[in-house]
Symmetry: C2
Subunit: 200 residues, 2 copies
Amino acid sequence: MIRLFIAEDQRMLLGALGSLLDLEEDMEVIGQALNGEEALASILKLEPDVCLMDIEMPVLNGLEVAEELARRSASCKVIILTTFARPGYFERAVKIGVHGYLLKDGEIDELADAIRKVMAGKRVFSPELTFDVIREENPLTPKEQEILRLAALGKTTKEITSELFLSSGTVRNYISEIIHKLDAKNRTEAAAIAEKKGWI
Amino acid sequence: MIRLFIAEDQRMLLGALGSLLDLEEDMEVIGQALNGEEALASILKLEPDVCLMDIEMPVLNGLEVAEELARRSASCKVIILTTFARPGYFERAVKIGVHGYLLKDGEIDELADAIRKVMAGKRVFSPELTFDVIREENPLTPKEQEILRLAALGKTTKEITSELFLSSGTVRNYISEIIHKLDAKNRTEAAAIAEKKGWI
DNA sequence: TCAGAAATATGACTTTTGTCACCTCATTTT
DNA sequence: AAAATGAGGTGACAAAAGTCATATTTCTGA
């Protein structure tokens, strides 16, 4: 019997996946969570065999949970299940060493198979991810990401200045560099590009 | 037997909902679609009793499909099923006269009940929507929305000018007005606000 | 048909952005 | 210890963005 845990913040999908996987002969859903914090706590306590993990969840995101599980060398195998084929996410997931990375755009039938494969020690990745532009690395440094995140919210140079304790010249230099790296025309376009790629 | 149609662009959720609802004694899923165009065509052909409709789908979005069904006075009752509690969406859905508006954040068990209620002639709305800030109207005119959509992509005033055949002064006036209406500091913040509210 | 909205445009002006060359001061590398 | 690296900073300049008062031109309802 494969003991499953599911962490997913969209209640309806969580419920649906739970019910369906529970119908499989060889699987049992032993726990569910709607956010990363709950998920982390429950997984450490319940020690499931496999955990399906969404990325974009409140409090702690799925990658952060996976990271923490790895740090504590938990035995639970993690399969990331997300809507987004964002380069940044996939890159990070691979670095963390997750056992699977599937897109919610895949067939539901493939999910049970993937879980069995992972239990058998294999790793499974959505074919969409294996080749493709998806493997682009995030060209922004952490500082640049932080600045662009603020700029994306419409904060002015001056506001960014006082949040990060930098001079306005420095902030403008950073933004100029970001614009170059992303091949954008201005901070707004840079933000749109980075958001689409999952880089901020 | 309630004959159901489901339109949802996230394949996994589509599959999961389909399987689960098909298990209900009194329901039968007679068709599914991954985008609005397919959905519209199939619904007109199959004439289901109730149709579950996601909003954000490729080609035609769910609200557009619902609008077209209403225009052709199709008998199919529409239940909008979406992630987003965006004021603009809900407002539009009510105007179109849909029979239900549920959030994907609701329990899956409520879904089958909602479908039965709609079949019985009732209308069902997620409780989250009934009160709340959700009812804020979109303060932007269609032209303003169009301009802000372009600005949100990082297009410059000059680029917007040549896409919409307006003078640069006019575009700047529009943006100035948008910034006022949304109580923002600049076009980027205006875009962030409008995106969050579902206004563009 | 006439008054009043909309939609579009101008121009003058201030502020904010973006660019670039160059500077300072620690921390590493070699 | 000298050189390289990297985070942070200056200042000057041009280009873009934002503000506002004031047109002009359609439309449109009474």
